[in-house]
Symmetry: C2
Subunit: 277 residues, 2 copies
C-alpha cells in the first residue's frame, strides 16, 4: 500500500485549467483550494511573457516545480537543428528564470515524410547530449518523458520507460538527466514496475490522470483520476518503492470535458479524488 | 531488403470491406482483382450463418486462411467463463467448418469496474490453457494477437509481442499456440525486431495497415499502407528473417474513410500499394 496523501503532496499542473484560465487565474484557483505546488504549462507563459509570469509567481502562494514541454522536434514547425537549439535554449532560460527544478522534455515526432523511427531515436540521443551543458549551466534537470505509443511518430518517439532508462544509460549524465513518469502514458506496460525500480533516483516528476475506456482523442482526452482504468495508487506504491518522495502532479488534458468546466470545479474535483492518486 | 511481393503473396482481410459488402460480395470483389486469399471477419459469418458462409467459400476462387477475432473477454457482454467457453467452442467449430488454419485470439479487456490489469493477464493464461485442447481437437492453431496499448483495458490486455512470447513460453504448447503479428499494433515497439526473431515459427499471421499521424479513433481509423508512418517493408524484412513464409494480410479497419468507399476501390488501391507492404 502507498502512504496516505494530503494536499501538501499534491501538485496541480496548469494544463488542467489551460483553456479556461489565464496564468494568474490558474494560480489563484489552486491557492483558493489550498494547493501549494504547480507545474508550468509553457504555452501559458508564452501568452504573457516570462517577466509577467515571474511577477505573478512571486506574488503567489503557489510555487512551480517544473515547466513542460520542451519538444525536441515539432513536426508542425520543421526547423533545422540550429533554429531548434536556439528555441530550446530560450526555453531553458525561461525555466531557470521561473526557478523551476526541472524542464520536462518530450522528443516530438518524425520529420515530415519520414518513417525512419530508428534514425529519429538515434538523433534524439545526440540532441539531448547537446542540451545537457545548457541545462547544467542553468542549474536545471532535463526530465525525459516517454509518452504513450499512440502518439509515437508525432509527439514522442520514446514510448516506454525502458527506452528512457536506456537513453539515460547511454548519456551517462544522471547529474543533469532525469525522467518524468506519467501514469497515463505508461500504465499498460507490463514492465512498468521493473523499469520504475530501475529508474530509481532518476525520477524527477510523477504525472497522473486516468485512462477513459471510451477515449475520443489520442492526446487530449485524459480522464479525472477515478474515472478510468488506471490503478494510480498501485503505480504510486512502485514509485515509493523506487524512492520517489516528490509531489503527485495531476495533469489532465481534456478538451471534451474538464477544459470546458470552471477552473474551480476542476481543482475541487481533483482535491476530492485524492484517494485515487 | 525484403523480397518483392506479387498478388500471390497478398491476403485481403474481409474487414477491409466489412461495411460496404456482404460475405459473398467481399469474396467476389477480391476475386475480380486476382486475390486468392482472405481472412474471415467473424461478424460477417454471423450475419449469414456458418453453413451459408461455407457454401459461398466453396464456390469461390478465394480461400480463407484464418478467422478473427475470438475475444476472450468482451467487456460489453460480461459473461461468466462457462458461458464464454461455450461461445469460444462454437467459434472454433465454425472456424474448423470453414477450414481455416488459425483462429486469431485477442484477450479482450478488463471486467467492468475492474482496474486489475495483472489479475486479468493471469486469467488470460488460464483461459488459453483451457481452450488449447478444444483447438487441438479441431486441428486449429490459436494465434494470439497483441493489440496496441491504446486499446489496453477494453480490447486487449496483451500489448506487446514480448508479452505474447512470454505467454507462449508459459503455456509451452507451440504445437497449438501461435502468434499473429500486426504492424499497426506493434510498429512503435523498440523491441519489435528482437521479439519477431524470438517468435520465429510461432508466427501464424502477419497483418498490415498504416498509422495515420492524425488518428481520429483509437480502433477503427487505420490507414492504407503508404499513407502513414509505418515502415511495413522493414517490418516484413524482420518477419522473413524470422522464417515467416505466409501471406501478407492487409487488414484496414477504417470507419471514416475506406469503409465509406466501394469495395472495388478499396481492393484496387490495396493492390496498387503493394510496394508499401
Amino acid at each position: 500500500m502507498p502512504r496516505t496523501l494530503t494536499k501538501e503532496d499534491l501538485c496541480i499542473h496548469q494544463v488542467c485549467v489551460w483553456k479556461q484560465s489565464s496564468f494568474a487565474d490558474s494560480l489563484d484557483s489552486f491557492a483558493r483550494h489550498g494547493i501549494t505546488k504547480t507545474a508550468i504549462w509553457r504555452p501559458m507563459v508564452e501568452d504573457i511573457g516570462v517577466n509577467q509570469a515571474k511577477k505573478i509567481l512571486d506574488n503567489s502562494s503557489v510555487s512551480a516545480i517544473s515547466m513542460c514541454p520542451l519538444v525536441l522536434l515539432d513536426p508542425d514547425k520543421l526547423l533545422d537543428w540550429a533554429s531548434r537549439e536556439q528555441e530550446h535554449i530560450r526555453y531553458l532560460e525561461d525555466a531557470a528564470e521561473l526557478r523551476v527544478k526541472t524542464a520536462v522534455v518530450i522528443t516530438g515526432g518524425l520529420p515530415p515524410k519520414s518513417n525512419d523511427l530508428a534514425g529519429r531515436r538515434q538523433a534524439v540521443l545526440e540532441e539531448l547530449a547537446r542540451l545537457i551543458p545548457v541545462a547544467e549551466e542553468s542549474g536545471l534537470k532535463l526530465a525525459l518523458e516517454p509518452l504513450h505509443p499512440m502518439v509515437c511518430g508525432f509527439r514522442s518517439v520514446v514510448s516506454t520507460l525502458g527506452e528512457a532508462n536506456d537513453i539515460l544509460d547511454a548519456l551517462d549524465r544522471d547529474d543533469v538527466m532525469g525522467i518524468a513518469v506519467d501514469s497515463y502514458a505508461l500504465w499498460w506496460d507490463p514492465k512498468l514496475k521493473e523499469e520504475i525500480l530501475r529508474a530509481g533516483p532518476r525520477i524527477c516528476n510523477f504525472h497522473v490522470s486516468d485512462w477513459l475506456p471510451e477515449t475520443r482523442d489520442v492526446r487530449v482526452d485524459r480522464g479525472m483520476p477515478g474515472d478510468g482504468l488506471i490503478d494510480n495508487p498501485l503505480i504510486r506504491s512502485w514509485m515509493e518503492q523506487a524512492g520517489y518522495k516528490g509531489p503527485v502532479e495531476v495533469e489532465i488534458l481534456s478538451a471534451l470535458d474538464w477544459w470546458l468546466k470552471p477552473a474551480d470545479t476542476v481543482v475541487k474535483t481533483i482535491c476530492e479524488r485524492i484517494e485515487f492518486l
